[in-house]
Subunit: 166 residues, 2 copies
DNA sequence: AGTCATTGTTACCTATGTTCACAATGACTT
DNA sequence: AAGTCATTGTGAACATAGGTAACAATGACT
């Protein structure tokens, strides 16, 4: 709803309905990116005293969430990153003694990642920090609104990945 | 709702309600980050043929959205980044001849950023690409759901910045 | 033994953004 | 006029998050 801000040469012959829907779509992208930037910053701010980055935090939580010590490849899949990215994160966490690389008895190729005791302790502080960070952002929403938002995002996340294997 | 995944030593004496709310909050953060990653990828995929990155795209749109050629500092503020970050982006766009640095007649310190003709043309293709990218993500949501989502995000974005001036 | 797929890693590259230092400029004081 | 200070943009260096490509070790299957 701001058609004057269209300096593109093409008159963009769209119906009003199409245009509005497109506006919404485009705006959504901006809003998401904006919000995520703030989330990143809030997380970083809260995680800084713990000495770990948001990505490391995510990895740590994923490890903790796993029933058995996961393999590097498992982590990569669950974090939706390329395996190479996991190596760096585990390196960082391992130097801080928050996780441990342990060999898999069944296959000498695989490496399993185990939470150390210090890692477990950090994880708890991390949850608090993370919650505080999210709380900073989500303050304007009341509980039902938050639930509505999670529901919508869950829909998006669920429909997400045809699991791009190649 | 998964208390067994709490390897932290502390028993975390919280009420069930508090815990559930915290769960929601934490989950929201994950969902947002997840979604944004996908959005980034989708954008990159769609923007790649145009030879510009998402951040450059955002800068370009911001320039186009401004009534008068904005100053670098304006752009930094509106993009919510540090001024130095704008320099790099403008550099890239300028080498592609999509924007131009023009001097401000009033003050020799300030540099104003102007959209070139090629920039305007690119901007239109960019809108299409961007819309397609968002469409990829938002496919699972129907129109009322999207509107609900934008409304929620708008609330968050609006309440956002006490404009951290220092 | 030979071929092929899996697993993790080393060595780079990119994108985005930050801090620090600095030079040029403008504005304001003495 | 000179001095002080804030603004503006940028160079240099670094951090974070991620990606590609090549490769070695290993397992699996013929």
């Amino acid at each position: 709803m701001d058609p004057r801000t269209t300096p593109a040469p093409e008159p963009a012959a769209e119906s009003a309905a199409e245009s509005a829907a497109a506006e919404t779509t485009g705006r959504l992208a901006d809003q998401l990116l904006n919000l995520t930037k703030r989330l990143h910053r809030a997380q970083r701010r809260h995680l800084e005293p713990l000495g770990i980055t948001p990505a490391q935090s995510r990895l740590l939580r994923t490890v903790a969430h796993s029933e058995a010590p996961p393999r590097m490849a498992d982590l990569a899949r669950r974090l939706d990153v390329v395996p190479r990215a996991v190596t760096t994160l585990v390196d960082a966490l391992e130097t801080h003694d928050l996780v441990r690389r342990i060999p898999d008895p069944a296959s000498r190729r695989v490496i399993r990642i185990e939470l150390t005791e210090a890692g477990g302790a950090t994880l708890h502080r991390l949850r608090l920090a993370r919650r505080a960070a999210a709380e900073d952002l989500l303050a304007p929403l009341d509980t039902p609104q938050r639930e509505a938002l999670t529901a919508l995002l869950a829909t998006l996340d669920a429909a997400a990945p045809p699991r791009p294997r190649c």
